[in-house]
């Protein structure tokens, strides 16, 4: 095994993941993810990583670059291309007290482990009372011309299975704090990074090793008075851009970032609707039965008396993510689409 030739711990205790912050201390989303994993592995030796090409190669997106030198091949475990087994093996290891974090090169390939995720991982605790502290993580989402098999937003498939907490953070700090919470949580979780955000968004990210963002908690990323845009993932950034443009026209949009899509923080969403009385639900999973369909249903059911307009959904059509740039741009909600939808709401 090639990984055995790498001297474990060669980088020495206290080393850092190879992806570094900028000189002024800002971290990209990708580096924030790497820091979360690194810190949790330093903190708890039961935590280990497994996945395809994560060791010597450092992962398809280089999230785990430098890890094998610090933690060794056992804790940064390169596996055969066998997703059902990566998930199942994580379950078995968790049943015996380990805390596995499985990387998928793309979240698309989680479907190759679908049965072990939806039949075993999601249901075992309800049936048999055995905690399964397993994290499945990988890059999801479109907008990078990666086409049908490297762009999917799979969160509705797995949210429907239940029993797995699903996070889709939009900012580096949220990514770091949520992933650390996921690793420490005794329930299964799925951490869906967004590859469009990976290297685009930078910010000051906390360095406290116990910095955590609670799972199941939404966050208002921009205060507003006229319309609530409830969203998550890369669409948060589109929504913030649209809100800037709308503000110049005198429309005040509030942007609610779900951060966790299962379970949904209904309270924060409803509080925003009570304030603005208008809801745009914006999401990158498919319009039909996507995450936003549930959010819209919650708003309709629980905030009816506060609404001054019908809830509007803006999301991609239920077709595979297309490759050609004009097609993908038409597929994904764009800033102009968001502005138009908000205008429709504001017109009520």
């Amino acid at each position: 095994m090639a990984t055995e030739q790498v001297e474990a711990g060669a980088a020495g205790h206290g080393a850092e993941p190879r992806g570094k912050r900028s000189e002024d201390g800002q971290a990209t989303y990708l580096i924030a993810v790497a820091e979360a994993l690194w810190e949790e592995m330093e903190r708890d030796e039961r935590v280990f990583l497994l996945g395809e090409d994560i060791g010597v190669y450092g992962g398809a997106f280089k999230v785990t670059e430098g890890f094998i030198e610090r933690f060794g091949a056992e804790r940064v475990m390169d596996t055969p291309i066998a997703e059902e087994t990566i998930v199942g093996m994580s379950v078995g290891a968790a049943m015996e007290g380990l805390r596995p974090v499985a990387e998928f090169q793309y979240a698309d390939f989680m479907s190759s482990g679908f049965d072990e995720i939806t039949t075993v991982l999601s249901r075992y605790h309800y049936r048999a009372g055995v905690p399964l502290p397993v994290v499945l993580r990988g890059p999801s989402g479109g907008g990078v011309r990666a086409s049908s098999f490297h762009s999917i937003n799979p969160e509705p498939w797995y949210a429907y299975a239940g029993g797995i907490k699903i996070m889709c953070p939009a900012f580096p700090s949220d990514a770091k704090g949520l992933l650390k919470s996921a690793v420490r949580d005794d329930n299964p979780s799925m951490f869906l990074e967004h590859k469009w955000i990976y290297r685009r968004i930078k910010e000051q990210v906390p360095t406290d090793p116990d910095f955590l963002v609670p799972i199941g908690s939404a966050d208002v990323k921009r205060e507003g008075a006229d319309v609530s845009i409830v969203t998550y993932g890369a669409m948060v950034h589109k929504a913030l851009e649209a809100a800037d443009a709308l503000a110049q026209r005198g429309v005040s949009a509030e942007v609610v970032d779900l951060r966790t899509v299962y379970p949904i923080d209904e309270e924060t969403v409803l509080r925003s609707i009570e304030k603005t009385s208008r809801a745009l639900v914006l999401y990158e999973s498919y319009r039909f039965l996507g995450i936003g369909a549930e959010v819209a249903a919650v708003i309709a059911e629980k905030a009816f008396e506060h609404l001054d307009a019908p809830v509007i959904r803006l999301a991609p059509p239920n077709v595979p993510v297309p490759f050609s740039p004009p097609l993908e741009d038409a597929f994904l909600p764009q800033v102009a689409d968001i502005e138009a939808a908000v205008d429709r709401l504001a017109g009520w």
């Binding site: 056992e74 059902e84 087994t85 199942g88 078995g92 290891a93 605790h125």
Partner: protein, 352 residues
């Protein structure tokens, strides 16, 4: 590593002492009696849900389980309830599960032989999508390899499940990492109605081990000691760091896939041959008599014990309350505490 295919595996290690042999006979007879009585109750409409008979395969189930230590883990299928009983599950709580009661191992969240007791007896709660537990067994074995506890995981599936991709994935992965795991295929010759010839194109399942670079052995499931010997060798090899082994234990499924299935697709002559000459319970009883390990009185006492325990289990099951309906959503998340506290019990279900 050379692949070894043996049709007459020689017993390895020390021969089993007489009290262990009598214990094997007890479990064989318990399994047979349980299977027959439960089928009768099912046909009388007195048992809700489904039954999956393991009749005719008791030699495989008891043989492989007797090779395990209590701290070793077992990953069975719905056909392998006998293996779980031999691992030590309480018959009363097993029967409470069949009747959907709160004292069943899974508190009514699942029924029949979709059972397990991980915390107590290290048996995995069975799932239907076979061989869904094979990858999970890899994970348990990975933990054993790392914690130095010298424990072993043993997983069972049927011949039908060997056609599924996970079977290949898990065995291949276990071989790559030399995991302490034993793969048992209970080849009862039919996957529901589909015979071996339509499931795979090699003569035996055991020889597929060569493709993974691990030992493969084929044993006669009618001979519990032959099964035990092969399993014992495989388990101890895994314990000593020698990696996984594939064991194919050949028997015949005497009954249908499930209680509703008359299994008319099984040729009459084949079934009669197995029932007359390859009955693992009868053969072992005769063997022990011939060896002077049991007398007629011993056998009668074992049979009386089995029947008494079944009756006690039945009474216990019917006296156990149903789960509290209001608890239906509890246990979804660890933090709701359902599985670490006493469960709610619905009233009004006392026996008699």
């Amino acid at each position: 590593m050379a692949t070894k295919i043996e049709h007459d595996a020689a017993p390895s290690g020390e021969p089993l002492p007489d009290d262990r042999l009598r214990e094997i006979l007890y479990f064989l007879k318990l399994a047979r009696y349980f299977d027959e009585r439960m089928e009768a109750l099912y046909r009388q409409g007195r048992l809700p849900g489904a039954i999956y008979s393991g009749r005719g395969q008791e030699g495989t189930h008891v043989g492989v389980t007797f090779a395990l230590q209590p701290e070793d883990s077992l990953f069975p299928t719905h056909r392998d309830l006998t293996a779980q009983l031999a691992k030590g599950l309480d018959l009363r709580r097993v029967m409470a599960q069949f009747w959907g009661r709160i004292d069943g191992y899974l508190r009514g969240r699942d029924g029949n032989s979709h059972i397990g007791d991980w915390q107590g007896h290290r048996t995995y709660a069975v799932m239907s999508h076979l061989p869904i537990a094979y990858p999970v067994a890899c994970g348990a074995a990975l933990a054993y390899q790392r914690d130095g506890s010298r424990r072993v995981a043993l997983a069972i599936c049927g011949d039908g499940a060997t056609s599924n991709g996970r079977w290949h994935e898990a065995i291949n992965t276990s071989a790559v990492f030399r995991l302490p795991v034993v793969w048992v295929v209970n080849n009862n010759q039919f996957a529901y109605s589909t015979p071996n010839a339509k499931e795979f194109a090699v003569p035996t399942i055991a020889e597929r081990a060569a493709a993974y670079g691990i030992p493969g052995v084929r044993v006669d499931g009618a001979d519990v000691l032959e099964v035990y010997a092969a399993a014992h060798e495989a388990v101890e090899r895994a314990r000593d760091g020698g990696g996984p082994t594939l064991i194919e234990s050949v028997s015949l499924r005497w009954r249908g896939h499930a209680g509703h299935d008359p299994a008319k697709y099984v040729p009459r002559e084949l079934l009669e041959h197995y029932m007359l000459s390859k009955d693992p319970v009868k053969n072992f009883e005769e063997y022990l008599r011939a060896q002077g390990v049991v007398t007629d009185d011993d056998v009668a006492a074992i049979q009386a014990r089995v029947e008494r325990e079944f009756d006690e289990g039945y009474e216990y099951a019917l006296a156990s309350p149903f789960p509290e309906p209001g608890d239906v959503t509890k246990g979804w998340w660890v933090e709701d505490g359902y599985w670490t506290s006493e469960p709610g019990r619905a009233g009004g279900t006392e026996a008699g």
